[in-house]
């Protein structure tokens, strides 16, 4: 089944103001940077963005924040972004902060047909407010519900025409679960190969979870914290 679209314009067709999007990545690592640039160009507004982080002021989701295109962020950590902080403190931006493991599992559950699950994370904290608590094996847990999105946008290292994906190193992060949880999942890849070229034993995300795939034009792959040691 051929999932290939020609370019980022075709890939993002149908994304409209007011929609809920999932965007893969951890910090600036493994983010769908071509698609984010296209969302800026399209000017879609009032987006709900589910993403572990919110980028930095001038890269990643920070670009959508600059244009005030995001109505609500669902994330686990949003530091390193002044514009984000300003919009949040002024009340322009709604923010739902979720423990990272719960965010990952809520996306996985959304894609896996599990409507909700119990987790110990956040019990006794603000995160638990209004949530059902139940004890299992003598320990309290809170009920967390699944997340899904109108579009999930992920970034992979290699993909084939069937939409099968392989990720590189820690750029995998949230991408596989989000790919599962999108009604329509868009994958942008560094290398796009014909079906049959990827080793089926080594595919991370099966193509059934991907509806559209394209080769990204450029990948800046900006590094957020460059740390090195001396030789």
């Amino acid at each position: 089944m051929n999932k290939v679209v020609n370019n980022v314009e075709d890939a993002c067709k149908g994304i409209e103001s007011g929609m809920t999007l999932m965007l893969g990545g951890f910090g600036l690592c493994g983010i769908p940077e071509n698609s984010i640039a296209q969302l800026v160009k399209m000017g879609v507004k009032d987006l709900t963005c589910i993403s572990n982080n919110a980028g930095v002021d001038d890269f990643g989701l920070g670009l959508l924040l600059q244009g005030k295109q995001i109505k609500k962020m669902v994330s686990s950590y949003v530091g390193e972004n002044d514009e984000f902080e300003r919009q949040m403190l002024s009340g322009e931006l709604e923010v739902d902060l979720i423990p990272q493991g719960s965010l990952a599992e809520r996306c996985r559950a959304g894609g896996a047909g599990i409507p909700a699950f119990f987790t110990p994370a956040g019990y006794g904290t603000e995160v638990a407010e209004g949530k059902e608590v139940r004890e299992f094996n003598g320990k309290p847990h809170i009920l967390e519900t699944a997340l899904t999105a109108d579009f999930a946008i992920v970034k992979a290292w290699k993909g084939d025409t069937e939409g099968n994906l392989v990720f590189k190193a820690t750029a995998r992060n949230f991408n596989p679960m989000m790919a599962m949880a999108g009604k329509i999942t868009i994958a942008e890849v560094e290398e796009l190969v014909p079906a049959g070229e990827l080793d089926p034993n080594e595919i991370h995300t099966p193509g059934i979870f991907v509806q559209r795939i394209f080769k990204g034009e450029t990948f800046e792959k900006r590094i957020e914290q460059r740390t090195v040691r001396q030789k």
Binding site: S76, L97, G122, T170
Partner: protein
């Protein structure tokens, strides 16, 4: 002399045991990796998706696709493995990681910890901290005993929004090693040259002090 951040990391490194998988938080905990005892083998997990994390890369060898949870460029050791975030937190929640070391703004004598939010001032998010503290059997908190104004961060009750409840059992500060048992802090060791009186003065929470408090051996 109170310990500096390196000293705290060195003392925590003594707690590591051969064969453990360990998750190190951002800040002082990250430094622990530099002082692993030579005769043991441990593997570091970073919750963004790597087991077998190595040191920082040499200049020019940084890979934007290879970072730790602090978003710093890192390397992978031989035998390392990468995985997605759901699998990563399965390792954490499922108690496959033997030790979690993390920083804190406040710790209370009932084991509560606060380290993610100062209302109206700092709202960056909890990241993976809530999942880590809710699940880990073995948590060591690395922190300064007091804040910059000299006020104790070792408290009867946390005043900041909590990260987890009743989960901390051991705290290593610049002044002391403390254990939390039966709703009280217990003084286990003192930093070299630091007196018991200084530690008592810097501790707001209830502190049980045995007759003999050995100095840390660093």
């Amino acid at each position: 002399m109170a310990l500096d951040k390196t000293g705290i990391a060195k003392r925590i490194a003594q707690e590591l045991q051969d064969g453990w998988y360990v998750n190190l938080g951002i800040g002082i905990p990250t430094l622990v990796a530099n002082y692993i005892p030579e005769d043991i083998e441990v593997e570091f997990q970073s919750e963004n998706g790597i087991l077998g994390m190595g040191p920082f890369p040499f200049e020019g060898e940084e890979d934007a696709d290879l970072i730790n949870a602090g978003k710093q460029t890192i390397t992978a050791r031989p035998g390392a493995v990468f995985f997605d975030s759901a699998t990563s937190f399965a390792m954490i929640r499922g108690q496959h990681v033997q030790l979690t070391v993390l920083g804190a703004m406040e710790v209370a004598q009932n084991g509560d910890i606060a380290n993610w939010k100062i209302p109206g001032k700092m709202v960056k998010g909890m990241g993976g901290a809530m999942d880590l503290v809710a699940s880990a059997e073995n948590i060591i908190v690395a922190m300064m005993h007091t804040n910059k104004a000299g006020e104790s961060k070792i408290l009867k009750e946390c005043s900041l929004p909590l990260t987890g409840v009743g989960c901390v059992k051991k705290v290593v500060t610049n002044l002391a090693v403390l254990e939390i048992k039966d709703g009280q802090f217990h003084l286990v060791e003192r930093a070299p040259g630091v007196s018991v009186e200084e530690i008592i003065a810097a501790t707001e929470g209830d502190l049980v002090v045995p007759d003999n408090v050995p100095e840390m051996n660093i």
